[in-house]
């Protein structure tokens, strides 16, 4: 699978180059083709898909746009207006002003499933708050974490706002969490795009993106598909997570207060834990994640060992 994707990306790169009238490295292209018969097949697949797509396009105007997108897009770009991509995003601001929204909030340790108008659902983790609007197609995750299982609709792409950042679904099942640094998105089905038109980072199934909202830097790592949204089943997996995030996730999920020790430094931990065990005895975390756990009078403090 990974190899297929690498091959397709390689084929796409050649297709882009050969597709331009200025291309002249035909010997280089021949050499690439000769390296493996699968290369020619991949190239054919890409070229056929691209050709069919280009032919299909003029038949359908862009979603949510009835003023002739193809003709106007270029002018807008030449004007240098790097504005938001999808019609849904522009609608978000208007919706906020109209105030047609409702909020759902959970207490720590609680979990709530929100059925969406028009299908799909959001599972809201404990200690979280989300505001829904515009026919349940726009959600603003104000605090905490949520798993989105939404039905994709190109006329109204599902949009999640997290602070200043925007996620737009291209597919369907994804988990969003606010972290101490910014946000984290993991995708198990379909795909999600971060800040379309600006960053355009695409997160595919099995990928997790962590964004530092202050610096705008993000990293994309991998995640096992069954770990996406596993907190619903009472399990949390941490990958190179800061103790602040571990404490926040644990507090939300268990309803028990956890804090990171002020002396935690920059320690990061990885590990997978079952929550019921932690709820019974928070000290079991110590062995599981290789950290110290002690009660400071108001909360369980976790720190570097």
């Amino acid at each position: 699978m990974a190899r297929d994707r690498a091959l397709m990306d390689e084929a796409a790169a050649w297709a882009v180059r050969t597709g331009d009238p200025a291309f002249d490295d035909w010997d280089g292209f021949t050499a690439w083709l000769e390296r493996d018969p699968a290369n020619a097949q991949a190239y054919d697949t890409v070229m056929a898909a691209v050709g069919e797509a280009a032919e299909a396009l003029p038949q359908v105007p862009e979603a949510g746009n009835d003023d002739g997108q193809a003709a106007t897009t270029r002018r807008r770009w030449i004007g240098g207006a790097l504005t938001l991509a999808l019609a849904g995003l522009a609608a978000f601001g208007a919706w906020q002003m109209r105030g047609g929204s409702h909020a759902v909030e959970t207490a720590p340790g609680e979990m709530q499933v929100i059925a969406l108008d028009g299908g799909g659902e959001i599972t809201l983790a404990g200690g979280s708050r989300i505001v829904l609007g515009r026919g349940d197609r726009v959600a603003s995750l104000e605090r905490g974490q949520a798993l989105f299982s939404v039905e994709h609709d190109s006329d109204a792409p599902f949009t999640v706002k997290v602070g200043e950042d925007t996620l737009v679904d291209v597919g369907t099942v994804f988990d969003v969490a606010r972290t101490s640094e910014g946000l984290r998105v993991a995708v198990s089905e379909g795909a999600v795009v971060l800040n379309p038109g600006v960053v355009d980072a695409r997160i595919s199934p099995g990928e997790v993106l962590s964004l530092n909202a202050a610096t705008g830097r993000f990293e994309i790592g991998t995640v096992a598909l069954d770990q996406v949204g596993e907190w619903r089943e009472g399990r949390l997996t941490f990958q190179d997570a800061s103790l602040e995030d571990v404490a926040a996730d644990l507090s939300r999920a268990t309803g028990t207060a956890f804090v990171a020790s002020p002396r935690a430094g920059g320690q990061r931990v990885s590990g997978s834990i079952a929550l019921d065990g932690v709820q019974r005895d928070p000290r079991t975390l110590g062995a599981l994640l290789g950290i110290t756990v002690r009660h400071n009078g108001t909360a369980w403090e976790i720190g570097a060992r």
Binding site: A12, D20, L33, A63, W77, T83
Partner: protein, 213 residues
């Protein structure tokens, strides 16, 4: 409107139906000497023909690498026919032009094979349905599939963001060369290439998902 990559018409099953004999050793030079087709401007055509003759082996090697197999010689002949009989304007780089014709022939060949396979599958599906007399079912189904496909393509491109989607349209639908697209959008050529790469990969993945469905 069916925009196509090159001005050349689409040969369907060209290799099989070519009425000409297999190329003899002197086939190409014979054509060249007789270049009295009257269709091509002789100077452009002569330049291309010279380029063809000088690069025949490279082109053949390319077609083989491209997966032409036994049809490679037939396709090479087809390239020759296109330049010998086609109306060709001035060509900046004759050698590139020849490779492009060969590549386009292979792309069209692959696509017509795929279409034939798809038609066969549809035909099978319709007949399995055992609804005699509903002869228009395949075309209705095809129409719906076409609309769905167009929609999926739009979604896939939109998912990449506005700029990649717009750049893809400009280059592939409006047929504007990449350097000019870069100028229009005020971005570097490598940005255009990178946007297109992403669009191509996403569209190929979409196609695979559709085919698997």
């Amino acid at each position: 409107m069916r925009p196509s990559l090159a001005a050349a018409p689409t040969p369907v099953g060209a290799a099989a139906t070519l009425p000409l004999p297999k190329p003899a050793a002197d086939f190409y030079s014979g054509r060249r000497k007789g270049s009295g087709t009257g269709l091509a401007d002789s100077s452009f055509s002569a330049g291309l023909e010279a380029a063809f003759l000088a690069n025949r082996d490279r082109l053949l090697r390319f077609l083989l690498a491209r997966g032409a197999g036994d049809a490679a010689e037939d396709l090479l002949q087809e390239v020759w026919l296109k330049i010998a009989t086609g109306r060709t304007g001035p060509v900046a780089s004759p050698v590139s032009y020849l490779f492009r014709i060969a590549d386009t022939l292979m792309i069209d060949r692959y696509r017509s094979q795929r279409q034939a396979e798809r038609r066969e599958r549809e035909w099978g599906r319709v007949n399995d349905g055992a609804t005699p007399g509903v002869s228009d079912a395949p075309s209705v189904e095809r129409h719906i599939m076409g609309r769905q496909h167009a929609r999926l393509v739009s979604e896939t491109l939109a998912g990449l963001g506005e700029r990649p989607a717009a750049i893809f349209r400009r280059h592939r639908v409006d047929q504007v060369p990449q350097r000019q697209v870069a100028e229009e959008f005020g971005v570097s050529l490598s940005t255009v290439e990178s946007d297109l790469r992403r669009a191509y990969a996403a569209l190929a993945a979409l196609r695979e998902r559709i085919d698997e469905a």
